[in-house]
């Protein structure tokens, strides 16, 4: 075993985004403690946005740095702490998504979350910082232990955030359920990891990857146990069927901005961790294709089940948050597809496909949840009928929602359309026709789900004639999401080229 390496001052530069978030989290905690009760806690929200923005700025800086390094023949990857922390373009891209999404979520909640609803507004905002930090660790670790720490950091803060509507019974129930199911999921993952450590003798992913060929031949059955346990745990975290049952309850009980955080950041982080582990291990099982294909098949089956169950379940929902939870289940299935596809000469773009759809998914969900926040504030409930006659009350908001719904349904010309299209191309190129068929059929069925909104907004008349008041920050967040959704639809090539230029499997996952 290599001697432990510690952090040096020169490494701090590579950790600047993480350090920024930690610093902001600590400072904001103290500020919240000492600021007089009479102060409106919105300034903490704004400072949270600032912290996220600064961290995102550092990430961009690092990416530019790596790009220059790559251009001059250097290695665009930096290992810290003996390979347990890894700063690379894979991590950076995802960190940008997490930071940006969280920023928009905070913006959307500024002014639209009522103090009566969430009494602990200060914590509500600054607790997002450690949660995002956890997500960033999950996307940037090269070691099972660090990954798990990131996962727990994200999970535990999320449990608190879900329960932040303290006087709401549903919220407390949701927090409890999330704690229990999240704990079970963590247990599954940790149990699987311990088996992996047991047979590999290391928690370092690149070491495991180097020896995995031998390990599989030696401990055939234990490999199955390790990977199936981890698969089940991650399936719970990202809400793949049949591990999804908690999602609807938790999404419904949580404050709407937190719901959108769970749907986008938590889910994305779990996928990041999944990629980290699976690309470093399963990818190297070329000599034992049966085992490798079984693991991929398990993921594919879960993806298919999620698409079917999520879409069918959403058909019957009248509560918008439960509906979006189930739509999130279906989307988790879609996001899972690229990982299950074999990487070949013809088809080496699985991360591009995943990332493109993740981007589209993030924007359409944050936008939709932000609109739901303002609409349900006006109507006083979170049911679909709250959207009735929205077009007549707030035509522009209805138009924005329509764009986001089109993206969710996968209609052109939106990000959702191209995201699904690229994933569909991937399935066809690798010959996974059954996944392609399920993707297509569930997409068509999902039209019925999303058009339910459109029918409510345009064809039903609402009972209130008052206009809808949308706080400025929320409006900014909504329209950025709409613009980004359309941009992903109109300029897919620009985004694709950008991802392809930055990311490559050999450099970002596999290099030392």
């Amino acid at each position: 075993m290599a001697p432990l390496t510690t952090l040096s001052w020169s490494d701090a530069w590579y950790l600047a985004p993480e350090i920024t978030l930690s610093a902001f989290a600590i400072v904001l905690t103290i500020l919240d403690l000492f600021a007089p009760k009479s102060w409106n806690r919105n300034f903490i929200g704004w400072l949270t946005v600032l912290g996220l923005a600064v961290a995102a700025g550092f990430v961009v800086w690092l990416m530019l740095d790596f790009k220059n390094a790559g251009a001059t023949g250097g290695n665009p990857v930096h290992d810290l702490l003996g390979g347990s922390y890894r700063v690379d373009d894979f991590g950076n891209l995802l960190k940008l998504v997490f930071l940006g999404s969280s920023g928009f979520i905070v913006l959307a909640s500024l002014g639209s979350v009522r103090t009566a609803d969430v009494p602990i507004k200060g914590e509500f905002y600054y607790l997002l910082l450690p949660a995002v930090l956890g997500a960033m660790v999950m996307s940037s670790s090269g070691d099972l232990v660090t990954l798990f720490i990131g996962l727990e950091l994200l999970s535990i803060t999320s449990y608190i955030l879900v329960g932040s509507r303290k006087r709401n019974g549903l919220s407390s129930e949701a927090a409890f359920k999330y704690l229990v199911t999240g704990g079970v999921a963590s247990a599954f993952i940790l149990y699987g990891m311990s088996f992996l450590y047991g047979i590999a003798g290391s928690t370092n992913l690149s070491l495991i990857g180097q020896n995995i060929g031998q390990i599989v031949t030696d401990y055939h059955a234990l490999v199955y146990v390790a990977f199936f346990l981890m698969t089940a745990g991650f399936a719970m975290k990202v809400a793949l069927a049949p591990f999804h049952a908690w999602a609807a309850d938790v999404y419904q009980g949580a404050p709407t901005p937190i719901t959108s955080f769970l749907a986008v950041v938590s889910k994305g982080a779990a996928f990041a961790m999944l990629y980290r582990i699976f690309m470093n291990t399963v990818f190297f099982m070329q000599n034992t294709p049966a085992v490798r294909d079984d693991i991929y098949l398990a993921l594919a089956v879960l993806a298919a089940a999620a698409m079917i169950v999520g879409t069918a379940g959403a058909l019957r929902q009248r509560n918008v948050k439960r509906l979006l939870a189930l739509s999130g289940v279906a989307n988790a299935g879609i996001l899972m597809i690229p990982l299950t596809l074999r990487v070949t000469q013809l088809h080496s773009s699985i991360f591009t496909e995943f990332f493109y759809y993740l981007l589209a998914y993030a924007f359409m969900n944050i936008g939709a949840f932000a609109i739901l926040t303002v609409v349900s504030r006006g109507s006083g409930n979170e049911s679909l009928s709250g959207f009735a006659g929205l077009y007549h009350r707030a035509p522009w908001t209805a138009v924005a929602m329509t764009v986001l719904l089109c993206s969710l349904a996968g209609l052109p010309v939106t990000g959702g359309f191209f995201g699904k299209l690229f994933i569909l191309f991937g399935t066809v190129q690798t010959g996974s026709y059954w996944l392609a068929a399920i993707l297509l059929v569930t997409t068509v069925v999902s039209y019925a789900v999303y058009f339910g909104f459109i029918r409510q907004m345009y064809l039903r008349s609402g009972n209130e004639d008052t206009g809808l008041r949308i706080p400025g920050p929320a409006a900014v967040a909504i329209w950025i999401c709409v613009a980004a959704t359309l941009a992903l639809g109109f300029l897919p090539k620009v985004v694709l080229d950008w991802i392809d230029a930055l990311f490559s499997i050999p450099v970002d996952f596999l290099s030392k």
Binding site: A312, G313, L315
Partner: protein, 621 residues
């Protein structure tokens, strides 16, 4: 020198911009808004005159410009415009007539509360036609061709609250679509067979005019006939002429626009533009000539027995377009374009005159009119000039152009000349009937007819002057027009015989009409009392509409019912089944979500076990 030609693309842009502005403003535009449309066509007219002037005065090169629109693999589609003598002539015709019609409509549509919409549509109509004229390749032309069709639908059905107008608009659209389909297939065939998939007119000219044999004669004939089918639909030639008379349900200025400058001229222009393809196929040329001649006489006979002033004029248009097709079929493109040129003026004149009459007496039935000459002096005089021009009486414009066509027909095929001459006789007769019934004699109803306002009569006067003088650009003694159009010196000039015969036939027709309808020397029922069947046949337009109804509409309707039933029961059944199974699955999911967290984790555990057993377990079995 090509100063103005480079800006030719602006010609269609003005009216289309007016359309956009008027539509954006909606009804708020009001009557001042309507002037935007008129002003835009005036700008187009001025620019067109500059372009044409430049081409007449100097030795201007043909000018064309295009940009790449779409590139798929090594196939590229482009959009562009081309200014030649032919297109510059068409630009002037279209913009001039359109401007005068616009001006006239200021008076005619004064009381319509959708007036801005009317001018908006008219702008789009004019702009589409101008785009069609300027297009440098078939695909661009086809896009504008379809736009013209859409606009005709919108304008014929402008008074959509009248069921007849609605039906007429639908009919116009559907019947011309049959022709459009032919044109589309022709374009696809050309795309397939042309070297490099080129569709621009200069390449078409190079391929077909040189008779290089790049494309086999059989295919060429097919292409030419399919293009001609498109022209038959748009130009109202037999057997697709049925929409044109019904299109009279639209506002009268639109009839003038459709019949003189935009819609129907498009068909003739299409054949003229692709004339090289036709000339490469003798069979296609024969077909064009025969259809043209037949339509000319066929429509003229129907015109004899109609009583609606606009319908008579509609059949006269069909008949005159037949002449143009005849000219094209016998190989004389200049004669066809010459007739298109003169016809545009006198037909616009006649329709606007008819509009003025209808405006005054509020009826379209010529049997209820009479003696209007004294009350509507300007209208009567100008209408008379138009009627004389249409009847081919020298020295009016129609005489010279019809003379050119008949000369060309006689050169090629004497029988076609005879048919054309007889049709000319009928033309003179029904126009005489129309004129004398409307303007002479005693009033047959008690309406207080009055002359129309100046904004309506000024266009009439302008068009009347043109109907007199436009013919002198090409006479048997002066071949300037044909020379300019084709750049070819050796164009045959007319013969004295044809001139004499054609003038005599025209005068005979007018004289006979005068005897019957003005003087009363011959009884009106001289034919109908002896051959009632013939008259009935003519009145009912040879029962073509009824025949089509029986042959096409009814069977298609029945087929539609069958398909509808299939859709209702089989397709919808499958859809309902799919929907039900999806909701059933959803219900199952709802049962799973009992709210019990222990159930959730148990499900997860069971899921894991099943997954592991099913996928990994099979390896250890």
């Amino acid at each position: 020198m090509t100063v103005f030609a480079e800006y030719a693309w602006l010609v269609p842009v003005f009216p289309v911009a007016a359309f956009a502005v008027l539509i954006a403003m909606g009804r708020g535009a009001g009557r001042p808004g309507a002037w935007i449309g008129t002003l835009a066509t005036l700008l187009s007219l001025i620019l067109s005159l500059c372009i044409a002037g430049e081409r007449i005065s100097g030795k201007a090169e043909d000018y064309s410009a295009h940009y790449h629109w779409l590139q798929v693999g090594n196939i590229s589609l482009s959009a562009g415009y081309e200014v030649t003598n032919l297109t510059s002539l068409m630009l002037v015709i279209v913009t001039l007539v359109s401007f005068l019609v616009n001006l006239y409509s200021q008076g005619y549509m004064r009381d319509d509360d959708r007036m801005p919409t009317f001018f908006a549509y008219m702008g789009l109509f004019t702009g589409s036609m101008l785009g069609l004229v300027l297009a440098d390749n078939l695909l661009t032309m086809y896009i504008f061709w379809e736009l013209v069709g859409v606009c005709s639908f919108l304008l014929v059905g402008f008074w959509f609250h009248k069921p007849e107008a609605k039906a007429a608009a639908k009919k116009a659209f559907i019947v011309t679509r049959i022709g459009d389909l032919g044109l589309l297939i022709a374009i696809l065939l050309l795309f397939w067979y042309m070297p490099n998939h080129a569709l621009d007119f200069s390449t078409l000219h190079n391929v077909f005019a040189t008779q290089s044999g790049v494309i086999a004669t059989g295919i060429t004939t097919w292409i030419a006939l399919l293009i001609f089918l498109g022209a038959v639909g748009k130009s109202g030639q037999f057997p697709l002429h049925v929409w044109l008379p019904d299109a009279m349900e639209g506002p009268t200025p639109i009839s003038a626009l459709i019949h003189a400058a935009t819609m129907v001229a498009a068909g003739v222009f299409l054949v003229a533009r692709t004339f090289d393809i036709f000339q490469a196929s003798p069979a296609a040329m024969h077909t064009v000539a025969i259809i043209g001649a037949f339509t000319a006489i066929f429509a003229a006979t129907i015109g004899l027995a109609q009583n609606d002033i606009k319908r008579i004029l509609a059949y006269s248009t069909i008949s005159q377009l037949g002449y143009m097709m005849l000219a094209l079929g016998v190989g004389s493109m200049p004669a066809a374009m010459f007739h298109l040129f003169t016809h545009a003026f006198f037909k616009a004149l006649l329709f606007l005159g008819a509009g003025s009459i209808i405006h005054g007496v509020h009826t379209q039935d010529i049997r209820e009119m009479g003696g209007l000459g004294r009350k509507m002096k300007t209208t009567a005089w100008t209408f008379g000039i138009g009627a004389l021009a249409l009847s081919g009486i020298p020295p009016f414009a129609g005489f010279w152009s019809k003379d050119a066509i008949l000369t060309a027909a006689l050169d090629k095929q004497p029988i076609l000349f005879v048919v054309g001459a007889v049709a000319a006789f009928f033309t003179a007769l029904y126009m005489a009937r129309l004129f004398f019934l409307v303007f002479t004699g005693n009033p047959r109803n008690d309406s207080h007819a009055h002359e129309s306002p100046a904004v309506m009569t000024i266009p009439l006067v302008v068009l009347a002057v043109l109907a007199v003088v436009a013919g002198f650009v090409q006479t048997p003694f002066n071949g300037w027009f044909a020379e300019w159009l084709t750049g070819d010196k050796a164009v045959e000039h007319g013969s004295g015989l044809v001139m004499v015969v054609s003038a005599a036939i025209g005068l005979l027709g007018v004289y006979l009409g005068w005897l019957i309808y003005a003087k009363g020397a011959i009884r009106r029922d001289v034919v109908s009392s002896r051959m009632p069947g013939l008259v009935k046949l003519l009145e009912n337009k040879y029962y073509i509409d009824e025949l089509y109804h029986l042959l096409f509409v009814k069977p298609l309707y029945a087929l539609g019912k069958v398909l509808n039933a299939f859709d209702d029961y089989v397709v919808d059944g499958v859809v309902r089944l799919a929907g039900q199974s999806a909701t059933g699955l959803g219900r199952l999911n709802a049962r799973l979500q009992s709210g019990q967290v222990q159930a959730y984790t148990l499900t997860a555990l069971i899921g894991l076990v099943i997954l592991a057993l099913a996928i990994a377990g099979r390896r250890f079995w």
